[in-house]
Symmetry: C2
Subunit: 346 residues, 2 copies
């Protein structure tokens, strides 16, 4: 038997934990009853975790609980966390990768703290200048998923950082969709070569030189309105722009769906209409459900760390566990190392 995929989970991060994290674990176990190629390591307050496990009647031998005395407080910032986060559930969850007892770490804790702690423990990969936070966006194509990075780990970037992000992001995409061709584009204010800052123009030249079938195909510039059209499946940008774009998309989606909800529950006629459209609208809602895309990942460290949305629920947390499982199954770290070989290591 091959080695099991071991996912280290910080059971205490984010709102309503460990309740929601264990609900997510329970869902993951249910959906993977036939697979026995994984094991989940839960870090946090042992008593609280075991109470929740009982609630969901989880007695699986695919679960192991590791006690941590403390958790990262809500008040912690990236600066204070350097001092105060040692031996918290988050710390121990990430640290477990060092001696090989886990393959990937997952936490719903504060993003800034998680990045600082991950970087302290796992250190940067050779050849990578800065870590990036990569996330998933729905698109109109068959497999319906784009990788977008950086979503906020670095608010200022240079052209070499963007080139690194392209290699990291395309490795992530390959680990999820090994049979697809990876197409990378740079987010810009226009699609013509003359558009954008000098930094983007330099990154453009370097990515064009790296474009090849056994690495990724470089698709040139994308604009904000083409992120979701599926022409490219890896969209590269600096963390400031990526963060604003992600949150703007979230805000726009919320604005529209809130308005739609109001519209369809306004009067007796629209309520009758819902009887006829209920199942179709449910599928529509399901496709746009942000919980399905829950889970962003820090790339560029000597080990993958996945960040779940702090405010998500059990279903959202399930998706982030599932996401960890898939990328380790797709051998993410090997894909990254292969990709980094294309860089000259400047």
């Amino acid at each position: 038997m091959t080695k099991k995929i071991t996912i280290a989970i910080d059971a205490m991060g984010g709102d309503n934990s460990p309740g929601k994290t264990i609900e997510g674990v329970s869902l993951f176990l249910k959906k993977n009853q036939k697979n026995e190629d994984f094991i989940l390591h839960l870090y946090g307050n042992k008593l609280a975790i075991e109470d929740e496990l009982k609630k969901y009647k989880i007695t699986s031998n695919l679960i192991k609980v590791f006690h941590s005395d403390s958790v990262v407080s809500d008040k912690e910032t990236p600066l204070t966390a350097i001092k105060n986060s040692k031996n918290t559930s988050m710390w121990n969850c990430i640290r477990s990768q060092l001696d090989g007892s886990s393959d990937i770490s997952l936490s719903a804790g504060n993003t800034g703290v998680l990045l600082v702690v991950s970087r302290m423990i796992l250190k940067m990969m050779n050849k990578v200048s800065k870590p990036a936070l990569a996330g998933f966006w729905p698109n109109t194509k068959k497999n319906g998923l784009n990788v977008v990075l950086d979503l906020g780990a670095n608010i200022e970037c240079d052209d070499n950082n963007l080139v690194d992000f392209a290699e990291l992001g395309s490795a992530l995409y390959k680990s999820l969709f090994p049979n697809e061709i990876v197409k990378v584009s740079l987010l810009n204010v226009g699609s013509e070569e003359i558009k954008g800052t000098e930094m983007l123009k330099n990154a453009y030249k370097k990515l064009k030189a790296l474009s090849s079938e056994n690495n990724f195909l470089f698709n040139g510039y994308s604009e904000g309105n083409t992120i979701m059209n599926g022409e490219s499946n890896v969209i590269v940008t600096d963390g400031f722009t990526g963060n604003v774009a992600l949150k703007t998309a979230e805000g726009t989606a919320k604005f529209i769906t809130d308005n739609l909800k109001k519209t369809l529950t306004k009067n007796i006629f629209t309520k009758i209409s819902l009887i006829f459209s209920y199942f179709s609208l449910k599928k529509f809602k399901n496709k746009l459900d942000p919980r399905k895309y829950n889970g962003a990942i820090f790339l560029g460290l000597n080990g993958p760390v996945v960040k779940s949305h702090g405010g998500t629920d059990g279903i959202g947390f399930y998706y982030s566990i599932n996401f960890c499982y898939k990328i380790i199954k797709g051998d993410l770290i090997k894909q990254i190392k292969n990709n980094l070989n294309h860089l000259s290591g400047e």
Copy 2:
């Protein structure tokens, strides 16, 4: 009688012109039958314009046509336009502001060319370092409109540019909603004071010092997901970020509404549902109709220039004429001059 509001219109810019521009003119005349406080000056090929005017049976004395031999070609870029745009319909439309024969100019031509030509003819205002492109976003509040700038006139900005944009944008908002309190915020990756680049932190300090009831109230930082929540009504950012945010919002809206359309026309049940929800969904669609927000404006020049979306139709063009009418009625230039008095003129 007070002087009439004179709107100079480049009838030839964008797709399907002068057809769509004259359709927009026709709609504007119909909706303003009782107002006689305006006059529309149309610039372009006189024969083509008069053909279209006949088609819509427009014989109003509120219309005047000015012949231009040439139009700005589709192939023109901001660089080539400096040489080639003289005496085009766009050029003459903007030039008419110089001798006071018009108050505002409107064109659906290429954005970059329009900015270069406008800047060449009208020149920058004293105290303003760079012009900004300001647009309108729907929000959840009563009057339902936010000003967002810069949407792409300057891809690199410093803190003083952002301060100028705040003064310009709040003057624009005041010209449209004279009885509202203007609340300005800076787009950033977080709402805490420690977030963002040094440039943003400097702009934050300067805007905080300028915050007052007779200027604008400074609301601190906004994030992408709060642009549309109505807490602030003027959102300030650099042209790169603003352009990406705008296009990302457009792409997200298109993605969702395309999916919704597919969902609601999928089968016989959803088609029946449409019978009951038709009127409500029509209102919903109407609220989100991008044509209602058509019209972005270059601020900071010695005269206002409005840019209509090139691909809009007659209805969209109508909205941009209406928008010109409203801001001149609200005395935009006086509002800007008042606001600029708050700046020290560094």
